[in-house]
């Protein structure tokens, strides 16, 4: 490392004033970034990685302040600099790209104007050719037809496109340091790869330094020179990225490494060593539950290996049969949808968009099937139709021998069959009523469709379910905002299994969770499936997770199935070009030495 790093964060402590007193979000953090270096900051939520970067740019919100330590950026003391000096630094010397690119752009301002705002602020060009400069910036981030896109609003662009605009915005003034805060979270893997490659290409060409903040070890390993691992506001380990994955030193780094889904491991391998010994915990808890659970005895052995297929299921008819399923939507822009909302006019073109284009698949008894694809491929639409939350345009859905495709979504909610198909939703926070306690949320399906009568019986059932999903009983009376992400996910799962469904549709149930929590939740799902004899339809964009949990996988693209088959075969030896593309786009951390 050179003697004079571009950025030197020394002994940084950041405090937030909250109602419950002062909280130290970041404590005694030391980070340095050399010129031209790419540094990864890795950690789970609450590790203080974003707060550190906000402190570097001094854009902490009102409650936060740098309490201690120093931040030196190429000889400037950021902590002592005046607000005017900082404003000159931001955007011109240090710039930042954010998570959720669509929200990071002003929704009612043309993207070209937003780039020009930055150029104007930092007097990067004469007023006359500012427009050209902005178009050039869009060109550099490889946006097709930049001259047209200049006049586009963020809502008219895709997520990946918006992130390119944010990058263009950040690099417009040729800064020396780029801070990328989870730049690809929420983007598809192929888009993620394109965006990351673009960032690397642009920063390398300009000899810029980059800080990549991410929760994804694979991403950090693939793109960073050095990696800093943070936990609970402290740096626990700093090392060259090649070394840190081969020889993680700190226990937390090891735990993170372990929990990251990757090639050649089973679900159990994701758990910290001490927890593997503790599981499987289910059979003991299950014993107390009612006769609806018939698999409990042989379930325990199966639970050990997620890929043991329930025997004899091939001969029986499948639990779920989907045939030539089609869902069409009238083709409309966002504006047209709104104008329809305000009953302005009917859509002029009767053109339709096929979200789901004639797909057929089956889910067997006790089988878990992964439905994989990038955003907009129709996987969520498919799951909604199976769930009877949405009516299909044509095609057949048979569940357990019964035709359910003809039942209108409104009518299905009142049928006893509704009990048999349940769903776990993507966002554990948004899918819980904030005014319901955990117990009330779990009891909800029991109250609507269940046969449990009386307060005490209901409570006992909730406690049993909580035990089943590993939620401490004393948390049952808490409200969602008093629970952690993992706990909320458990509530969501408990609610879904409350009525002993035969099929559970899991819509990206772990997408919003940290890897270590994800590991636990995935194992829990696996155990529950084995012990309760459920089938899963697992909707996900994360191929590594699907590989771990699912027996079979269906790859979708643009409403069609491009490939399906046993997980090991499809993901180990993909036949379709698109599946291959998906697989190569995943950044893989180097395998740790066992």
């Amino acid at each position: 490392m050179t003697a004079q790093p571009l950025l030197d964060v020394h002994d940084l402590t950041v405090e937030f004033t909250t109602r419950r007193g002062i909280v130290k979000a970041v404590q005694h953090v030391n980070i340095s970034v050399a010129k031209g270096e790419t540094l990864g900051i890795v950690g789970e939520s609450g590790s203080g990685k974003s707060v550190t970067s906000y402190a570097v740019m001094r854009i902490l919100d009102r409650a936060g302040r740098i309490a201690d330590g120093s931040v030196m950026f190429s000889g400037i003391d950021v902590k002592a600099a005046s607000e005017n000096e900082m404003r000159d630094l931001r955007g011109r010397e240090i710039s930042m790209i954010f998570q959720n690119p669509r929200a990071a752009l002003n929704p009612i301002r043309k993207v070209g104007d937003q780039i020009e705002d930055v150029l104007r602020q930092h007097v990067q060009s004469a007023a006359s050719d500012r427009g050209e400069k902005a178009i050039e910036a869009l060109e550099q981030v490889k946006i097709a037809r930049p001259r047209e896109r200049y006049h586009a609003y963020p809502f008219e662009l895709s997520g990946g496109m918006c992130q390119r605009v944010v990058i263009a915005l950040a690099l417009a003034c040729n800064p020396q340091l780029l801070i990328a805060d989870e730049p690809t979270t929420g983007l598809d893997v192929t888009t993620q790869k394109a965006v990351m490659d673009l960032i690397v290409e642009l920063t390398k060409r300009r000899h810029m330094s980059t800080i990549l903040i991410t929760h994804d070890l694979g991403l950090a390993a693939a793109y960073c020179d050095r990696v800093v691992v943070m936990e609970k506001g402290r740096v626990v380990e700093t090392a060259k990225s090649a070394n840190i994955f081969a020889r993680p030193e700190h226990a937390y780094t090891k735990k993170l490494m372990r929990a990251t889904p990757r090639l050649g491991v089973s679900l159990r391998d994701l758990l910290p060593e001490e927890e593997v010994l503790a599981s499987p915990r289910t059979p003991a808890v299950m014993a107390g539950l009612d006769p609806a659970i018939h698999h409990s005895s042989e379930g325990s052995s199966k639970a050990m290996d997620p890929r043991v297929k329930p025997a004899g299921d091939e001969t029986k008819s499948p639990l779920l049969l989907v045939e030539k399923l089609v869902k069409e939507y009238p083709r409309q822009g966002a504006g047209a949808v709104l104008s329809k909302l305000f009953s302005r006019k009917p859509p002029v073109e009767a053109e339709v968009f096929r979200a789901v284009d004639g797909i057929s698949f089956t889910v067997g008894h006790g089988e878990s099937v992964g439905l994989v694809g990038e955003s907009g491929c129709g996987k969520s639409t498919t799951s909604m139709m199976v769930m009877r939350l949405l009516d299909q345009t044509s095609g057949r859905i048979a569940f357990d021998g019964e035709e359910i495709g003809a039942i209108l979504p409104q009518a299905f909610a009142r049928l006893p069959l509704r009990k048999s198909i349940q769903m776990v939703f993507q966002d554990p926070t948004d899918s819980l009523n904030p005014r319901f306690t955990a117990a009330r949320a779990i009891a909800d399906p029991l109250l609507q469709l269940g046969d449990v009568k009386g307060r005490d019986a209901l409570r006992a059932r909730c406690e049993k379910l909580a035990g089943l999903v590993g939620l401490p009983v004393d948390l049952l009376d808490r409200f969602p905002h008093q629970l952690s992400g993992g706990q909320k996910a458990r509530v969501g799962i408990a609610r879904a299994i409350a009525l002993h469904p035969k099929l559970v549709i899991l819509d990206e149930p772990t997408a919003a969770l940290d890897v270590s929590v994800q590991a636990v939740v995935l194992n829990l799902l696996q155990d529950l499936k084995a012990s309760m004899g459920m089938s899963y339809l697992f909707v996900s964009h994360d191929l590594n997770v699907v590989r771990l949990l699912c027996d079979r996988v269906i790859v979708m693209r643009a409403g069609r199935i491009v490939e399906q088959g046993p997980s090991e075969r499809v993901l180990g030896d993909p036949q379709d070009a698109y599946t291959k593309e998906l697989l190569t786009a995943i950044p893989h951390p180097p395998l740790p030495v066992h």
Binding site: D88, R90, A104, N106, F155, L338
Partner: protein
């Protein structure tokens, strides 16, 4: 754009027809017998019956309604029984008075409330934030007739700065030639600056009363939506790009925060236009609200129906203006022609 406006107006027709029917039925369902009222307390049964016949109230409802609808179709709103004037003329004379008062009150209110809300949102916890809170609380908790009376007491009775609260113009002036019906504008068009001054001095107190009242919702909405927008991701992006605070607040935050404020404004405006009866009463303002209330009290159907219909039309037009404004500010709801 024009086709869109035309379409919107077409869509409004069914609701207007509904308004006509409902007001007709409501006025008939109200307690009180107009015939008895107009015959006077000393009238005999026969006299009342005679008046009833004359007014057409002895006919079946459906026939009364058809006659009413037919008159409406010919632009005839009927005649007020109390004043003997055609309703259309009276509304035409009184609506501008209400509109002028409401508009001025709203303009005053906006020029104070929006900066106040913005400043309060950008400096939470500061004195200006507290000022905003106190003003809005005071604004909603003080009834308009009370603020109106206090203003009259202080500025007319005590200080003598403002003229007597007796209508739109001092008795010594005559109304300017009617162009828009708004005295301030008509006086300027006719270059009668003395009249303008007089009209303005009459307007100030009632307008201030309205402004104090409407200040609260507007300032609150501005503050709340500014706070929400200032906490959003794109404002953080703007700050991280080093944009100046004024650009961040005006170009990035304020324009986005304006959307809910405009909705509030339209609600406040339509509410004030028809509902500021108390202000009109305190200042003897010849507005449309007091006209309607007086008619209602004396079971005078025609003006009530005319009033409701006028307000409905105003509401439709106002909503159209708001929608167009929305489209101007927010490209996501931009109207397709």
């Amino acid at each position: 754009m024009l086709t869109m406006i035309g379409k919107r107006l077409m869509f409004a027709i069914p609701s207007l027809i509904g308004v006509v029917i409902v007001t007709f039925l409501l006025t008939r369902a109200l307690p009180g017998d107009p015939a008895a009222y107009f015959a006077g307390p000393a009238a005999s049964k026969e006299a009342i019956e005679q008046i009833r016949k004359k007014l057409g109230f002895d006919k079946p409802l459906i026939e009364q309604f058809l006659r009413y609808a037919n008159d409406l179709a010919h632009g005839d709103f009927g005649t007020s029984l109390t004043t003997g004037q055609p309703v259309a003329t009276e509304i035409r004379n009184r609506l501008p008075a209400s509109a002028e008062l409401t508009l001025l009150g709203l303009i005053v209110s906006i020029t104070i409330a929006i900066p106040l809300g913005v400043l309060a949102a950008t400096r939470p916890g500061s004195w200006i934030d507290h000022l905003c809170r106190v003003t809005t609380t005071a604004g909603v908790s003080l009834p308009v007739f009370f603020t109106g009376l206090v203003l009259v007491y202080v500025f007319y009775f005590r200080l003598g700065w403002s003229p007597a609260p007796l209508g739109r113009l001092d008795v010594f002036y005559s109304a300017p030639p009617t162009v828009t019906g708004l005295y301030l504008i008509d006086a300027l068009i006719a270059r009668e600056f003395e009249t303008f001054r007089s009209a303005l001095s009459q307007l100030i107190l009632p307008a201030a009363t309205l402004a104090i009242f409407s200040l609260a919702p507007i300032a609150r909405m501005t503050r709340a939506s500014m706070l929400a927008v200032l906490a959003s991701d794109f404002v953080r992006t703007a700050r991280a790009s080093g944009l100046s605070p004024s650009t961040v607040i005006v170009t990035y935050a304020f324009r986005n925060a304006m959307l809910p404020v405009i909705t509030t404004l339209s609600m406040v405006f339509s509410f004030l236009l028809g509902a500021n009866v108390l202000v009109e009463k305190v200042f003897a303002w010849p507005g449309i609200g007091s006209y309607a209330v007086e008619a209602l009290i004396s079971s005078d159907f025609a003006p009530v129906q005319g009033f409701v219909l006028t307000m409905a039309v105003m509401y439709v037009l106002l909503n159209l203006v708001i929608d167009i404004l929305y489209g101007v500010i927010d490209p996501r709801v931009r109207l397709e022609g």
